[in-house]
């Protein structure tokens, strides 16, 4: 077997460029150039991996190098160099594999975002102690108190009344969370209730005012307990981290040029994830309400009242303001809660 190629020889001590001719003969490579003649065993030479048409480098014993563009000769002489990267190079050269890579990326990232990341978060959550959620919940409450909410204006007697309705919901639950109901006055958020990880549930004064029946409040609280039991707070944190990791991998190169590419999908994702959690919490609420002898209809009632209150506020804003409802409608499908009408229907169906 004889293979010959032209190359440039660098001794590794200076940058001097020496054009040479290399010839493989048996198990040695003969390198000949001006004032030099070398004979080196082929198995003491290592070839770098091929990448596109980048010039190849052969490392010789003692730190010297041959550089050559003769890819064909090297393919014959060093077929086994860097097996992994030889395979990768093949992938890169075939249009079919390139298309395959594209499809793989598309399918895998879609699957990961929609199923993989939530599944991974759910699995990891299973190993995490409940204590973690308590810490997380306490911190969230502290920050809510610092930023958006003030102590409730509700009379102590009324609070007591609602707490007893709440304990009907939580008594006999086997999930080892210590549930606690907190009342707050949060003007900026309006009528709302939220579950903090670990079992603390915050309800705003305006939600209590909005309700026409305490059973409606109980229904909302059942929904919030659903968030706690399904560990949505922790899962959201983990999903956020997972999605961010995936996006930064995908965006990699693009992100160094534009941060927008990364900001957008993250926004959309968070929306999608919390939608799923709402549905999960709803499902739990319907079940639990029926267990304690209440109809899920009260949940539907409360949602209807919330929706009416929201659209009235919207109308007022539109009237006073600049009639920008067009924009809102366009972005409405991005809203955090699943379509309210759909949720109301589900509650009525669950009766």
């Amino acid at each position: 077997m004889v293979t010959e190629f032209d190359a440039i020889y660098y001794d590794g001590k200076t940058s001097a460029r020496i054009p040479v001719h290399a010839r493989a003969s048996g198990s040695v490579l003969l390198i000949a150039g001006a004032n030099m003649n070398l004979e080196i065993a082929l198995d003491r030479i290592s070839a770098d991996a091929r990448i596109g048409d980048v010039r190849r480098t052969l490392s010789l014993p003692g730190g010297a190098q041959l550089q050559t563009d003769d890819h064909a000769a090297l393919a014959v002489l060093f077929p086994q160099a860097n097996r992994l990267e030889v395979w990768v190079h093949k992938l890169e050269q075939h249009r079919l594999y390139v298309v395959g890579a594209f499809v793989t990326i598309a399918v895998f990232s879609w699957w990961s975002m929609v199923y993989g990341v939530p599944l991974a978060a759910k699995t990891v959550t299973r190993w995490m102690p409940r204590q973690v959620e308590t810490v997380l919940g306490d911190q969230s409450l502290a920050s809510i108190d610092k930023t958006v909410c003030s102590p409730s204006g509700l009379p102590a007697g009324r609070q007591q009344q609602l707490r007893s309705g709440f304990s009907a919901l939580t008594s006999g639950l086997d999930d080892r969370y210590s549930y606690r109901l907190e009342f707050r006055d949060c003007r900026r958020i309006g009528p709302n209730a939220f579950a903090l990880p670990g079992g603390t549930i915050v309800i705003t004064d305006s939600l209590i005012e909005l309700a026409t029946d305490d059973r409606q409040i109980t229904a909302v609280l059942a929904h919030e307990i659903g968030h706690v039991r399904n560990r949505h707070g922790l899962r959201l944190v983990l999903q956020g981290a997972g999605a961010a990791a995936l996006i930064s991998t995908l965006a990699g190169d693009a992100v160094s040029i534009t941060a927008l590419a990364a900001a957008l999908p993250t926004l959309l994702l968070e929306t999608g994830y919390s939608r799923e959690f709402e549905t999960e919490a709803d499902t739990y609420a319907f079940k639990r309400l029926k267990e304690i002898g209440l109809s899920p209809k009260y949940f539907a009632d409360m949602l209807t009242r919330l929706q009416t209150a929201h659209s009235e506020k919207q109308k007022a804003a539109d009237k006073s303001g600049n009639g920008r409802s067009e924009n809102n409608r366009v972005f409405d499908y991005l809203s955090t809660h699943p379509d309210t009408a759909e949720r109301i229907q589900r509650a009525l169906d669950a009766q």
Binding site: S15, E92, L246, L250, A254, T258, Q314, N327
Partner: protein, 351 residues
């Protein structure tokens, strides 16, 4: 500020000087294949392949960056990068998790990390230089920890205390530290005093900042009411407005600083001429962003290649002699840990 070059283009042999334009011969099509296969393998191996991907990408770009017909080599071992990455991911996970569960520990870690920045920067520069070679002669970085600590922490503190007045001074010293501690083999890169011209660039940038901020203010004042009530549209709008209006100033700063540093640098018989233009960079960045967003990221390889090609096309090496007489230096191998931690925590190592 690109006044330090000689101006007219010298014929090749005048004064015995030779002019070597930097060539960048990578093509968008070929890099696209490398990029997409890298990405597919990275996600399929849940990130493990990313170390090999990084090396293939850098080897491709280095190999296609040529001076006097000879390409550069990137020699990092993917396994070393993988080890560094595993350590970095571990640290980053601990750091992120403590943010939610152990705020005090998180704060302590943040301090430790901030204290480690000089180390991370020096190690990263060492790793990168050691693994870069041209004509089989490695580059080296031999920066002194004491000096970078003084620049970052002491001058950094002074910059804060003087409300930014000392900031250009700090940056000029940092640039000089980074460039001036590099060696090609035994030959040192020498950088003149940059401080005075740094101030000139920052001053002009500051003047440019005035119309930029007015423009941004008008944009937000006009745009914000249009988007009231829609969180997502508002976020996207603010990001777009922010990047759009800062683009000119960013392009100005990048081109002038880059030109200044290269034009003030000599290495043995060699000096450099860099002639980047702000308006060219601005056009490139703008079209890159549009193309990347419109193609959902698929244009990223094209954007990167054309940007690098432009940058190379504006760079020339001028030597008083042939490039055959540089001498290699002895230096110990460097681990990739510093570089990978720095990348993970997004610590910017440039000037």
């Amino acid at each position: 500020m690109d006044s330090s070059g000689e101006g007219s283009i010298l014929p090749q042999e005048a004064d015995g000087k030779r002019r070597y334009p930097v060539e960048f011969t990578a093509t968008a099509g070929e890099y696209f294949r490398i990029w997409i296969v890298n990405l597919a393998l990275t996600i399929l191996t849940l990130g493990i392949y990313s170390a090999w991907a990084k090396v293939r990408k850098k080897r491709y770009f280095y190999g296609h960056t040529r001076i006097d017909g000879e390409g550069f080599e990137y020699r990092a071992n993917p396994v070393a990068i993988l080890k560094g990455r595993i350590i970095a991911v571990g640290l980053f996970s601990i750091y992120s998790l403590t943010q939610h569960f152990q705020p005090l520990l998180h704060l302590a870690l943040a301090f430790v990390l901030a204290g480690a920045i000089p180390w991370l920067i020096v190690r990263s520069l060492m790793f990168n230089a050691y693994n870069s070679a041209y004509r089989n002669i490695r580059f080296h970085f031999r920066g002194n920890y004491g000096e970078i600590i003084k620049i970052l922490f002491w001058y950094g503190l002074l910059a804060a205390l003087t409300l930014g007045l000392m900031y250009p001074y700090m940056k000029s010293r940092l640039a000089r530290f980074i460039m001036g501690n590099h060696r090609y083999g035994e030959t040192r890169f020498e950088v003149g005093n940059l401080t005075r011209r740094y101030y000139a660039i920052y001053l002009k940038g500051l003047v440019l900042l005035v119309p930029t901020l007015i423009f941004l203010g008008i944009l937000v004042a006009v745009g914000a009411p249009l988007l009231k009530g829609s969180k997502y549209a508002a976020v996207i709008f603010v990001i777009l407005a922010f990047y759009g209006s800062l683009l000119p100033i960013f392009a100005y700063g990048q081109s002038r600083i880059n030109n200044l540093i290269w034009n003030s640098t000599a290495m043995g018989p060699v000096h450099f001429e860099s002639r980047l233009r702000a308006r060219d960079l601005m056009g490139l960045y703008f079209t890159n962003i549009v193309a990347i967003v419109c193609t959902l990221g698929l244009a990223a390889p094209w954007a990167i290649v054309r940007t690098m090609r432009y940058r190379a096309s504006k760079m020339t090496m001028v030597s008083t002699g042939a490039l055959d007489h540089f001498v290699a230096a002895e230096a110990a191998q460097v681990s990739a840990t510093g570089e990978e931690i720095g990348e993970m925590f997004d610590i910017d190592i440039g000037w």
